[in-house]
C-alpha cells in the first residue's frame, strides 16, 4: 500500500496539444479513487502516467515517498489491468498469473502458492491450464485481475477494466471488485467513462474534462453539490435538466424566469443577491408531481413516457418551450399527451453561471 501524489502534472503532445493540464491529486494509501469523464478527458493518460507508460511533460508523480517520474514501469511496484485484458495469448492462465513473479526471481514454491491463492480468491481453479483464447470475456477479466493481485503491488491501476463485458456481467464484476478492494485494501486508481460505475465503486471520484480536474469528492458530495455545469450534467442518470433564464435574488426570495414566465419562485439557501442571466439545474428525480392548484405548482404537458419498472421517465414541456425529463413513480399513471402539474424539491435546485462551463452559484447547499 502506498499513497499516490500528483503535483501539477501536465501531458503535452507534439504540436502543443495538452491532454492533461495541471492535475493535482492526493490519493491516500488504501483508497479507491475513480477517474471519470467523457472520452478524451485525459483520465486514461493520467493513469498511464502513473503507470509509467506515458512520460510526464511537466510536474511530479510520487508513489509512496518516491518521485517516480524517471522510474521504469516495472520498478514502480504497480499492477495494471487493461480494458482488453492484455493476457499473453500463448500462455496458460497459470503462466499468465505467474509471469511477473517468475521474472522477479521468486522461488517456485512461493509462485505456486501465490497462484493457488489467487485462483482460489477469484475462482480460477478449473481454468489454470487453459489459454486465454478458450475463456469467456468475464473469465479473461478475472485472470487479468488475478495477474494483478498475484503481484501484491503497492498500487492497482485499472483502465476501464469492465468496458468490454456485457451489462449484467459488468454489474456482477463491479460488486466483486468492490469486495476485493475491501479485503486487500490496496491503493486503487480506476478509470472509467461510466459515471454509474464510478459512483458505485469509488470512495472518491475525480471528475475530469478537457484534461482538467473538475471536481474531487465522494460520490454523494459530487452528486449533491456539483461544482459546475459540466459535473452536474455528467454525473447522474438521467442527466440533470438545464434551463437558461434570468435569476433574481432579493432578500432571500429567489425568482427564476424565462421569457417572462416564472419557472421557480421560493427560497434557495446560499444564494447572494443578484440579478443576472443564469442556468437552473434540476435532476429528474427532484421534479415532483403536484396536484392542480397547490402553491408553486407549474402546469406541464407530457410528451413521452418511458416505463422503467417501478418508475418511469417522462418527457415534459412547461410554458411550451422548456423541455425537461422527470423521473416519477410508475403508479402515478401519467400518460403521454396528458396535462399535469409539477413542483420542485427546492432544496435540490442548482443555479449555474450562464456560460457552458458555468460555476455553481449556490455553493455549499445541501
Amino acid at each position: 500500500m502506498a499513497a499516490v501524489e500528483l503535483n501539477s502534472v501536465w501531458k503535452i503532445y507534439a504540436g502543443d496539444v495538452s491532454a492533461v493540464k495541471d492535475v493535482n491529486l492526493s490519493i491516500e494509501s488504501g483508497e479507491f479513487v475513480v477517474l471519470v469523464g467523457p472520452s478524451g478527458c485525459g483520465k486514461s493518460t493520467t493513469l498511464r502516467m502513473i503507470a509509467g507508460l506515458e512520460s510526464i511533460s511537466k510536474g511530479e508523480i510520487s508513489i509512496g515517498d518516491r518521485v517516480v517520474n524517471d522510474v521504469a514501469p516495472k520498478d514502480r511496484d504497480i499492477a495494471m489491468v487493461f480494458q482488453n485484458y492484455a493476457l499473453y495469448p500463448h500462455m496458460t492462465v497459470e503462466k499468465n498469473i505467474a509471469f511477473s513473479l517468475k521474472i522477479s526471481g521468486m522461488p517456485k514454491d512461493e509462485i505456486n502458492k501465490r497462484v493457488q491463492n489467487v485462483s482460489e480468491v477469484l475462482g480460477l481453479h478449473d481454468l489454470l491450464k487453459r489459454k486465454p483464447g478458450a475463456l469467456s470475456g468475464g473469465q479473461r477479466q478475472r485472470v487479468a485481475l488475478g495477474r494483478a493481485i498475484a503481484r501484491d503491488p503497492k498500487v492497482f491501476l485499472f483502465d476501464e477494466p469492465l468496458s468490454n463485458l456485457d451489462a449484467k456481467l459488468r454489474v456482477a464484476m463491479r460488486t466483486e471488485m468492490k469486495s476485493l478492494h475491501q479485503r486487500l485494501a490496496t491503493t486503487t486508481v480506476y478509470v472509467t467513462h461510466d459515471q454509474e460505475e464510478a459512483m458505485t465503486l469509488g470512495s472518491r471520484l475525480v471528475v475530469m474534462n478537457a484534461g482538467q480536474i473538475q471536481q474531487v469528492g465522494t460520490p454523494i458530495d459530487i452528486y449533491n453539490n456539483p461544482t459546475n455545469r459540466f459535473v452536474a450534467g455528467f454525473v447522474g442518470s438521467p442527466a440533470m435538466n438545464f434551463i437558461e433564464g434570468k435569476l433574481q435574488v432579493k432578500a432571500g426570495q429567489t425568482r427564476f424566469s424565462r421569457n417572462g414566465f416564472d419557472i421557480f419562485t421560493g427560497s434557495v439557501s446560499n444564494l447572494p443577491d443578484t440579478e443576472s442571466d443564469a442556468v437552473m439545474g434540476i435532476r429528474p428525480q427532484s421534479i415532483l408531481l403536484a396536484s392542480e392548484g397547490s402553491s408553486d405548482s407549474i402546469p406541464a404537458k407530457v410528451d413521452q413516457v418511458e416505463p422503467l419498472g417501478d418508475q418511469m421517465d417522462i418527457k415534459i414541456r412547461i410554458h411550451d418551450d422548456i423541455a425537461m425529463i422527470a423521473r416519477v413513480p410508475l403508479q402515478t399513471g401519467v400518460a403521454a399527451g396528458s396535462d399535469i402539474h409539477i413542483a420542485y424539491d427546492s432544496g435540490k435546485i442548482h443555479f449555474f453561471e450562464s456560460h457552458a462551463e458555468g460555476t455553481r452559484i449556490n455553493r455549499g447547499a445541501e
Binding site: A51, K74, F82, F99, S100
Partner: protein
C-alpha cells in the same frame, strides 16, 4: 438458385481455370510418364522406368546442386529472415525519423525487379573493379596499420581478386538474395507486428520484462503464424532459386559447380542437354522437397494461438 447464378461463378473462374488446365495441370500429368522416359528430341522416346530417379541419386552433380540449394535455403531462413525481422522491429517504433523513406528504401529492390538486381549484383561482385571487393580492400587498408590484425590481413591485390562469382558463388547469391528479399519479408513482419496489441507489450513492461524478454515472451509468439508463413514462403522460394544464379554466375553456375542449384541443374539437363526425362525426374524430386516444407509448416501451425 436460378440456372444463371449456378453457372456464373464458374464463368468468372473460367479464364484462370483454362490457363491452369492447359499450362499447369496437363503438363503436370504428362510429366509423370515423362520422368520414366529417355527422350531423343521432342518426338522420340523409350521407356526406362525409374532409371532417371536412380540416376539422380548416384549423380554427384545432383548432390552438389542439392547441397548448394539447401545452403541457399539455410542462408535465406537463418540470415535473411532475422534481418527482415530486425528491420521490421526497428521500423515499427513510433519515433523513427523517416520511417516511410526507410521502408521504401528496403523494399525498393522489389520495385526494380530481380533481373535488374541480379545484373547489378553481378557487376558489384566482379573481381578487381567490383564495388564489393573495392570496399573490402579499402576497409582493409584502413586497419592495415593496426598491430596483430594488420599482419594477418591479405594483400590488396588478393582482396581485389576474391572470386565471388566464380568460386564463392553461394555467399554471393545469399548476400544478393538478402538485398533482394529482406525488405519484402520485412513488410510481412511489419504488418504482423502492427497487429500485436500495444497493451500486451505494456502489460509485459509493467510485469517487469525487459526488451529482450518482451520480444521472446510476447512479440515473437504473437507473430508466430506470420513468421511460420514467411519461413515457408522463403523456403519454397529458395528451393526454386534459378534466375538469380543464372544471371549472376558464369555459365549460370560458377566454376566447378560452386553455384549450381537444383533448378539450374534441371534447366541444364532439360533444355541444354535435352534429357527431358532426367529434368522431369529432378523436377519431381524438387516437388517432394517442397511438400516436406509445406507439411512441416502445417504441423507447426497447428499450435497457433488466438489473439
Amino acid at each position: 438458385m436460378t440456372k444463371d447464378t449456378k453457372v456464373a461463378p464458374y464463368l468468372f473462374l473460367a479464364p484462370f481455370l483454362v490457363l491452369f488446365l492447359v499450362f499447369t495441370l496437363v503438363p503436370l500429368f504428362q510429366s509423370v510418364p515423362l520422368a520414366t522416359q529417355h527422350t531423343f528430341g521432342p518426338d522420340a522416346s523409350i521407356d526406362v522406368g525409374m532409371e532417371k530417379f536412380s540416376r539422380a541419386f548416384g549423380d554427384p552433380r545432383f548432390w552438389t546442386a542439392l547441397r548448394n540449394t539447401l545452403v541457399f535455403t539455410a542462408g535465406s531462413v537463418l540470415i535473411q529472415l532475422p534481418v527482415a525481422l530486425a528491420l521490421a522491429l526497428v521500423l515499427n517504433r513510433k519515433h523513427i525519423l523517416g520511417r516511410g523513406v526507410f521502408r521504401l528504401l528496403f523494399f525498393s529492390p522489389q520495385l526494380v525487379g530481380l533481373v535488374f538486381v541480379a545484373v547489378l549484383a553481378m557487376v558489384m561482385f566482379q573481381k578487381q573493379k567490383g564495388l564489393v571487393n573495392s570496399i573490402l580492400a579499402g576497409g582493409a587498408d584502413l586497419i592495415r596499420g593496426l598491430p596483430v590484425i594488420g599482419g594477418w590481413l591479405p594483400s590488396k591485390s588478393e582482396i581485389l581478386g576474391i572470386p565471388w562469382l566464380e568460386t564463392l558463388a553461394m555467399p554471393a547469391l545469399i548476400i544478393t538474395a538478402l538485398w533482394m528479399y529482406a525488405g519484402f519479408n520485412m513488410i510481412y513482419f511489419l504488418a504482423a507486428l502492427q497487429n500485436v496489441p500495444k497493451e500486451l507489450e505494456e502489460a509485459a513492461m509493467i510485469d517487469g520484462a525487459g526488451p529482450i524478454r518482451r520480444f521472446f515472451a510476447v512479440t515473437l509468439p504473437s507473430i508466430k503464424p506470420v513468421a511460420i508463413f514467411v519461413v515457408l514462403l522463403s523456403v519454397i522460394g529458395s528451393i526454386q532459386v534459378f534466375e538469380l544464379a543464372y544471371i549472376m554466375l558464369p555459365e549460370g553456375m560458377g566454376l566447378q559447380d560452386s553455384g549450381l542449384t537444383l533448378v539450374t541443374y534441371l534447366f541444364k539437363n532439360g533444355f541444354e542437354i535435352g534429357d527431358l526425362g532426367y529434368a522431369t525426374a529432378i523436377g519431381w524430386l524438387i516437388a517432394a522437397l517442397l511438400s516436406v516444407a509445406a507439411i512441416t509448416q502445417r504441423i507447426l501451425n497447428r499450435s497457433e494461438v488466438r489473439l
